[in-house]
Symmetry: C3
Subunit: 316 residues, 3 copies
């Protein structure tokens, strides 16, 4: 198994179209979890022969959760971390340095760079010049591939399969980057039926819809959550992003249209699951947290093991 050759830069979710690769990542993530919980440091460690590898986080916009998750993953693998929480105040950047130059210099200091940037396509540009692997940790409204992978991993782990699923994607489907990637990865599986549940103003974008049509994936765009609650194996809920609305009235109207609460829960199948990329605000009531079907905190924890697996594959 030549892991090294499979992933170098990790830029977009399309790299994971290959089902075998996806399964390999999931299998490695499970190994990581078992070794981590069992304290089997030897199995976790990246390599025992060379010096400790160094991961640099280069974040042009804050995402503390993602940063801490990558840092914790790297440390658990026996690696080390150097961090920038706020790269725009990176002194070089304020002085006018280009992303490309910043990447070239940072790549001298680190063995892998985790890049978060506000502009779509930044990771691709970075990867073109970087001698060390670039991991895209979100670029603007573009890709956030490790989130998509941990979502799929959670589905596999919670439901025991990634095929033959009815999935409701709920909330902000227009701006929610995670639902686009998830729809893309689910489209590669067999027997999938998707329900897109959102107010009309923040529907799934047309390019995703066209892609699903091309791929002949079954889907419906609907507005009534209750109508599908009893059918789905999974509700994937997203936050209505306040920062996206110019008019606060529009936000206030939409933010409470779909709230997962005990009433919705009572309609759902026993073995169904609720996921959410977090942070959640009001779209899932706190009363839901204690139900075993509430998988969102386990989903966050899975992010750690998926990132450990990816780092291990990338760093060899």
């Amino acid at each position: 198994m030549k892991l090294n050759s499979k992933i170098h830069h990790l830029i977009e979710v399309k790299q994971f179209k290959d089902r075998e690769l996806l399964e390999e990542i999931f299998s490695l993530a499970r190994e990581m979890e078992v070794a981590d919980k069992g304290g089997e440091y030897g199995k976790l460690a990246l390599s025992q022969t060379s010096r400790r590898k160094i991961l640099a986080t280069l974040f042009y916009e804050p995402s503390t959760r993602t940063r801490l998750s990558f840092e914790s993953a790297m440390l658990r693998l026996g690696g080390e971390v150097i961090s920038t929480e706020d790269a725009p105040s990176f002194s070089s950047v304020t002085k006018g340095e280009s992303l490309v130059d910043t990447i070239r210099v940072t790549s001298s200091y680190a063995d892998v760079i985790v890049l978060r940037h506000y502009e779509e396509g930044s990771s691709k540009i970075a990867a073109e010049v970087s001698p060390v692997p670039i991991i895209n940790a979100g670029d603007g409204t573009g890709q956030h591939p490790t989130q998509a992978l941990l979502d799929m991993y959670t589905i596999q782990k919670e439901l025991g399969r990634t095929d033959n699923l009815e999935v409701g994607l709920v909330g902000d489907l227009l701006y929610g980057r995670t639902v686009h990637s998830l729809a893309y990865l689910l489209a590669q599986q067999k027997g999938i039926k998707l329900y897109f549940v959102s107010p009309g103003e923040i529907k799934m974008p047309r390019d995703v819809i066209h892609y699903l049509e091309e791929q002949k994936v079954a889907f419906e765009e609907i507005t009534d959550l209750k109508g599908i609650a009893s059918r789905v194996d999974l509700l994937y809920v997203t936050r209505i992003q306040k920062e996206r609305f110019r008019n606060i009235k529009d936000y206030n109207r939409m933010k409470r249209v779909y709230v997962i609460n005990n009433e919705i829960l009572s309609l759902m199948k026993k073995e169904a699951r609720i996921m959410h990329p977090l942070p959640r605000v009001d779209e899932i009531a706190v009363e839901v947290d204690k139900d075993p079907r509430a998988a969102y905190f386990r989903q966050a924890a899975n992010g750690l093991y998926v990132r450990m697996a990816l780092l291990k594959m990338i760093l060899g």
Copy 2:
């Protein structure tokens, strides 16, 4: 000695009412100092069988000194650290995530969380949901238990005892969180006489006074520092906190009422000590620093060893 069972969450100073526990912490802190200075890494290390443990600092208000002290303690124990210097800009928090959700997620990434928060009671709330130990590193005007422990440890180390002491607490006794905790812990000792030396506007709060009365601890509220300088074994000085005063005139009037300088020093006993939680501004003159009775920088250094001891007890 089952350390593990003695402390899990470290939330408030009341947890250290048990004198035996206090002595156990102090003894472990001394061991840590000896091993650290002697470079005996094996004795420091948290555990040699499992992976390196990870500490997360989650600071909702800055306290660089406390953060660095905890981080240094954890690293000396062979552990690792993930950090948030400024949690309110934690992207999830700005998006409306609750403390409870943030704790749930962070606890997936770390083996122990050091929480600093601006609201009293936050650590208690965090401890209720966290599967990993929470250490309170200060919550608003509430508790800062590790500071109280390092203060007591310094008293024991500098004066050779924590009983039979006359102690002057000087400065801002109303807002100074550290003096409340210290008064509480001193009240558990024998033969204590306390002098509360402050301007009338920033006197010791009534709940502390009532507690001392109940516990039958001898104390006096006075305004004249010179009158007690020759009697006390310890002067514990605190900064008048500019940020507490709406009227800058009040601050300017009070800030220089009590200044420890060579004149005060000349009145004090040879074996007495001066302590201060730091930072100091003008309330201790720089000329005092070189006197062997000036214990405040040694006190700051003790914080490291007390925190190493606490982490070792908590993480087992």
Copy 3:
């Protein structure tokens, strides 16, 4: 070879007047690079007998590049790092704590302190009170000795010598701290001819000029870059610092006076080199990057190995 006794605090470039010491640092930096690239962890490690040493970065102004370079160097040596990215918001500092007190406290937590400060002379003041080594990572318009050392190391590595060189220093010679230090170190070598190429308003300061006259170093102050491009072994280019100009018109007029592009490159010797302390803005055209004479990204990478060598000498 008693490395320990040679450097304790690293404050100013004058400490490296001794050519033998300079060569020792360069030789150790080469060793570090070979061991790091070969993964020979044992050769890198600071010490295998004691606990991991801790480096504290204390930055009163941002310099992410310098911070990450030091942190990466320390981690590669098997050490650990505690960091303050923004010390002015260091809670103690905002409360009025002096630099001297901050240093005293931080020195309890770390084995070496890397200090960046906006005031000239800060590192010297810090070194006077610190029980642990202070490394000056830039103090105001004053010194930045590790940058000067990595510049000299790069010259040695790229050109094979530090003697018998014709060097053009180009751009902002008035405010550019690096060119002052480089001129000083080059003045200690044999057979040096310097060309100072700058607009009249931002010429080399008079104290540097007087020093070179005293040392009988050959130099010329000129305004025409093309006239020397074919003669020099090295062009050391600096950014015109926008932040130094009150009048944006002055900045706009000067910023494009000297631009290294393919035209300049075509005039230069085959074995010549172009260096730049980075970040660069427009003063070196991107088209130059792919030419083997463009040494500036290798120069940045050298910073890592020079800092590893210095930390190893300082920490023993």
